[in-house]
Amino acid sequence: MNIHAPDPQILPKTNIPPVYGPIRTKIQMTTNNSNNTFNRKLLPFVIAFFIITGGFIFFEYQTKTSKLQNRAKLTTESERPIPKQEITPIPLATESAFINFEQTVDRMKEIIQNSNLIDPSVSPPIFELSLGFSK
């Protein structure tokens, strides 16, 4: 037995063996502002935002899809002969201008028919020229 040989590194029996399980440590958020926590009152609004946005995206998608379908339909239908129909479009500006014209004509007709050309207030006075003395 070699006396100079190093002692085997045997842990003393009193030592508690290490436990190699999951180590749970509570991590604390260290922020300067303690009020920055998520406000639960905002939750309905956030949900509503997501629903609206989602709905909008869905609607856009649907519209585009239906447009594409319609275009596809039109291209197939246009191959068939359709009787040509000519419709004269009357734009909105024409309609409002016509209403103005109509009102102008009606007003003018009324004025021309109903106004007095001869002012009765300028009827001349009736006066006697001769003094009527017999001599």
């Binding site: 002012d119 001349p124 006066f127």
Partner: protein
């Protein structure tokens, strides 16, 4: 801010001027009515005094007749002056007459005012019945000229009113023409041709109105009869012609209504 303030001030002044113009015509008319009433009363007093003088031939009745005849002649001149002032105010208010036309009418009215001023002064300085008869004779001799001036002015005012109506129609015709130019392509060609035919009729009707208006103006300017009866006949004939000219405007209005309907039911 300053500009806005200035704008409101100018508008206010403008409103005041408009009100003054209307008020001056109304005021002149009220003055005329008042002087007419006064003349009637004074004339009745004069006739009573004249009849008394004619019956009794007394000195007191002569004095009373002289006093009342002077007052009556003075009041007669005042009445005619007030009437001329009324005509002048009406001329200034008339929107259908040009400045030159108004100046021409006012000039002849002013010469009548001068005559009436001298008539008024002479009436007040009369000191006998015969003197009163002589002064009154001047008015009798001048009467035809006076009546011509009055009738010319009255016809002129009626022509001014007719011109206002014509201008109203002109605006409607211009509007129609602009509408047709701007919206020519909004209507099919067949309808547009039909519409154009109405437009031609409107233009023809307008031209015949303008011709008859010019004839009327010339007739009124050359109004120069030698007696009252002829003047009355000419005056009535001119009034009839003015009504005929108005009927041309009415006819043109009916064409415009047809045009409106053609545009409305164009397909």
């Amino acid at each position: 801010m300053r500009g806005l303030f200035l704008f409101f001030i100018l508008n206010f002044v403008n409103l005041l001027i408009v009100q003054t113009i209307n008020a001056s015509s109304n005021q002149a008319y009220q003055d005329y009515l008042f002087q007419y009433d006064t003349y009637r009363t004074i004339n009745a007093e004069f006739q009573t005094a004249r009849n008394e003088y004619e019956t009794f031939q007394s000195l007191s009745s002569e004095t009373a007749a002289l006093h009342t005849v002077k007052t009556m002649m003075n009041q007669r001149a005042i009445l005619l002056r007030t009437y001329i002032f009324l005509l002048k105010e009406k001329l200034y208010e008339n929107q259908g007459l040009s400045k030159n036309e108004i100046s021409s009418y006012v000039a002849t009215l002013d010469s009548e005012l001068n005559f009436l001023d001298s008539q008024k002064n002479e009436a007040l300085s009369v000191n006998s019945i015969q003197g009163a008869i002589d002064v009154s004779k001047k008015l009798e001799n001048h009467n035809i000229q006076f009546q011509i001036t009055i009738d010319r002015t009255r016809i002129g005012l009626a022509l001014g009113n007719l011109s206002v109506l014509s201008r109203t129609q002109d605006n409607a015709v211009s509007y129609a023409q602009k509408f047709l130019t701007d919206h020519k392509y909004a209507y099919p060609k067949e309808s547009y041709d039909k519409i154009s035919r109405w437009t031609e009729k409107i233009v023809q009707s307008r031209e015949s109105f303008i011709q008859s208006y010019d004839v009327l103006r010339q007739k009124n300017n050359s109004l120069n009869p030698t007696d009252i009866q002829t003047l009355t006949d000419l005056h009535n004939s001119l009034l009839k012609d003015i009504e005929s000219a108005r009927s041309l405007l009415i006819q043109c209005s009916s064409y415009l209504v047809e045009l409106k309907n053609a545009l409305k039911y164009a397909d």
